[in-house]
């Protein structure tokens, strides 16, 4: 009898081990597949996005005199600020390339320098008025098409990919013409071009000019919106979860509440946007495009996520801890605040971070409440018009200029970095709580 069993077991062993092997390899394949997707995705975003963090500059000898600027040396500050800096830059360009005489050619020449350079020049002048009347060798921001070629260090002597050599893989893809490429090459040969870290990407708001567009307005807008979301949703959700889990009687009413919370988590986010538009903007007259409304709408969306995960965390606290505290004469509130909540805190924080991460990446409801506006100014408060990172990505992805493509990927990278910082904070907080208890 026992011999029979041994034989049967031996016969089935091979089959069992085979099944285990298959199961394991399916798991490994799944992990490898998802990891490689992630690598491809991140790789392509980083590859496309990293030039957004670099900017090209062109060196010019700019003369700041009465003649070039159209103001006298003793002009008022306000007058000097509004002087003809564009003219000064154009004069400098003409002096650099005296051979350019035709009007059309001159206009093409001017296009190599960013239209934002005159404001930088104005700031440079106002920093120190004694600079008036002298010639300065200055690094000016290059225009986006020139910038694209310079920071990728392209060979500017190659042909441009147009009609006749459309199939030439080696040709340059650019909207500049051969003259402009020649002038650029001359700057490059003279060592008068430079590629630097693009601080403007982090200090500017949005702009129509790709080389001047930055993510600061969206970043600050995202931070304000998330702050409002956190301040509203965390206490409300935790209070709701504690009440439902620890105090609420089991009856029809709490059942209905529970079902509704679970349903709320599945509502498409754009519906919350419509609600925000109808209630907060049209009825309550809160400002349009403002982080305060965005925050309220996103916290409505985040609430069910935090409530559900907080309830799970509270449920996971062993009942024996509650009994022990109750047995010592702790009141129900003391049982919760002294024992249950601290033990559930890591789980609650995880849920909160998941909810906030979801809110950070949300676009659709914000479109409905006007946060899709073109925002140049950095918002100073939660009621100022603002946009958020994912909406900025959406806006830039729509722009026709090639330079916006890299900015789109750059903004995605900043968004991802924001997420990583948030998750890191959550992990650190959780570690801290776990050590204390």
């Amino acid at each position: 009898m026992s011999n029979n069993t041994t034989e049967k077991v031996r016969a089935s062993l091979q089959k069992r081990y085979f099944k285990e092997k298959v199961f394991r390899s399916i798991g490994v394949v799944a992990i490898v597949a998802s990891l490689s997707f992630l690598v491809v995705l991140l790789g392509s975003i980083i590859y496309k996005g990293y030039p957004a963090f670099k900017a090209s500059y062109i060196q010019l000898d700019v003369t700041l005199t009465e003649e070039t600027l159209d103001v006298s040396a003793d002009a008022e500050d306000s007058e000097l600020r509004r002087a003809n800096y564009l003219g000064a830059i154009r004069t400098a360009l003409r002096e650099r390339f005296p051979e350019v005489t035709k009007r059309g050619d001159k206009r093409n020449l001017y296009r190599l320098i960013s239209s934002g350079a005159e404001y930088a020049l104005s700031d440079f002048m106002m920093e120190d008025r004694s600079r008036f009347g002298q010639t300065h060798s200055l690094w000016l921001l290059a225009d986006d098409e020139a910038d694209a070629l310079l920071k990728r260090n392209k060979d500017l002597t190659k042909p441009i990919r147009t009609g006749e050599n459309a199939k030439n893989k080696d040709a340059l893809i650019t909207r500049l013409n051969t003259d402009q490429l020649g002038w650029l090459q001359s700057f490059k040969e003279a060592g008068e071009t430079d590629v630097r870290l693009a601080s403007t990407f982090f200090t500017n708001g949005d702009s129509r000019e790709a080389e001047q567009a930055g993510i600061r307005a969206a970043l600050i807008g995202s931070a304000y919106t998330l702050l409002i979301t956190f301040v509203l949703s965390f206490p409300i959700a935790v209070a709701a979860a504690i009440y439902l889990e620890e105090f609420a009687p089991q009856n029809k009413f709490t059942d209905i509440v529970e079902v509704n919370i679970n349903n709320l988590a599945a509502v498409p986010s754009i519906v919350f946007g419509l609600l925000g538009l109808a209630v907060f903007i049209n009825y309550l007259q809160l400002p349009r495009s403002a982080p305060v409304v965005g925050g309220i709408v996103l916290s409505l969306m985040t609430l069910p996520t935090i409530i559900i995960s907080s309830r799970a965390a509270l449920k996971a606290v062993p009942p024996s801890i509650r009994e022990a505290a109750r047995g010592l004469g702790a009141s129900p509130v003391q049982v919760v605040t002294h024992h249950v909540l601290p033990l559930a805190m890591p789980g609650i924080l995880t849920g909160t971070i998941i909810g906030l991460a979801q809110a950070l990446g949300e676009t659709a409801p914000l479109l409905m409440i006007g946060m899709v506006a073109f925002i140049v100014d950095i918002p100073n408060s939660v009621t100022d018009p603002a946009t958020v990172l994912p909406v900025q990505v959406f806006l830039w992805a729509d722009a026709p200029e090639r330079a916006f493509t890299e900015r789109t990927s750059g903004a995605i990278l900043v968004l991802l970095a924001f997420l990583v910082v948030m998750n890191l904070t959550a992990v650190l907080l959780r570690k801290k709580f776990e050590r204390r208890w």
Partner: protein, 273 residues
């Protein structure tokens, strides 16, 4: 269960033996407990004397734990649970509207089946009860309470150098003694123990049993146990429960050597349970 025993159970109208004592600390009078529609305890009347250990024994599901938990109203938190009859502590009803369950649990402490220290330091575990009830006026007094409670629970010498270590870092037996120290730190009048040694090895069990014997000087103790040897070792009186009814109460010696009721005898002699 033999059919004869079954018949004996059906015919059981009244608890066999003397349910009252001369000097009661707690008195249960005609206690019925229901979970929803199901009745778990049938008309139990039993006293707990001052300075005595009463053991409650019986097969699984006989209601002994339920009965124990009625004595400090731990069953209140179970929504479907209803308690009929009355339980008195020093002559006052536990279930009258003037009694606050929080106050009651400070007077009637409880030690649970599984050691359940808080996720706090050893010191804070013991100091928790005195802190929430405001029993100590300053840090020095609290230190004294913690030290004396740990000492009476026989744990102080083992942990005095690591009072700040988490309570969960102790061994199972030490954890259970910590839970006992935590309970006596509030200085209750009665201690209820729900199978306090079922998760412990024989050596830790022996240590706890010794401790129960020492605690009897100051407290009334009711202990639920599955081990008849333990009941015989630690208690002065024993109550035998069967399917929600209190079958027999008496001096421990009598119950174990010369039980009156057939069911008790069957259980003691190991015919079922």
């Amino acid at each position: 269960m033999s059919s004869a025993a079954e018949k004996a159970f059906e015919e059981l109208k009244e608890t066999v033996g003397r349910v009252t004592v001369d000097n009661p600390k707690m008195q249960a009078k005609n206690v019925d407990v229901f979970y929803g529609d199901k009745q778990a305890i049938f008309d139990v009347t039993c006293d707990i004397g001052k300075n005595e250990v009463i053991a409650m024994i019986g097969p699984s599901g006989c209601g002994k734990s339920t009965f124990l938990r009625c004595m400090n109203r731990m069953n209140d938190t179970i929504p479907s649970c209803r308690v009929g009859g009355d339980i008195l502590l020093e002559g006052d009803s536990l279930y009258s509207s003037s009694v606050d369950p929080v106050m009651l649990r400070a007077r009637v402490g409880m030690v649970f089946q599984k050691p359940n220290p808080f996720a706090k330091s050893i010191y804070d575990n013991v100091a928790y009860g005195p802190r929430i009830h405001g029993l100590a006026n300053n840090r020095a007094e609290l230190d004294d309470i913690v030290e004396s409670s740990l000492q009476r629970a026989g744990l102080f010498d083992e942990v005095k150098d690591r009072l700040n270590a988490p309570g969960t870092s102790l061994s199972g037996g030490q954890q259970q003694r910590l839970c006992i120290a935590r309970t006596i730190a509030v200085n209750p009048e009665v201690i209820l123990m729900d199978e306090p040694c079922s998760a412990l090895d024989p050596i830790a069990t022996a240590r706890i049993e010794e401790l129960i014997d020492e605690l009897r000087e100051n407290y009334a103790i009711a202990i639920v146990t599955h081990s008849m040897q333990q009941a015989a070792r630690v208690s002065q009186r024993t109550a035998y429960f069967h399917l929600g009814k209190l079958v027999e109460v008496g001096e421990t010696k009598t119950i174990f050597t010369n039980p009156t009721h057939e069911l008790t005898e069957n259980y003691i002699t190991g015919r079922f349970g």
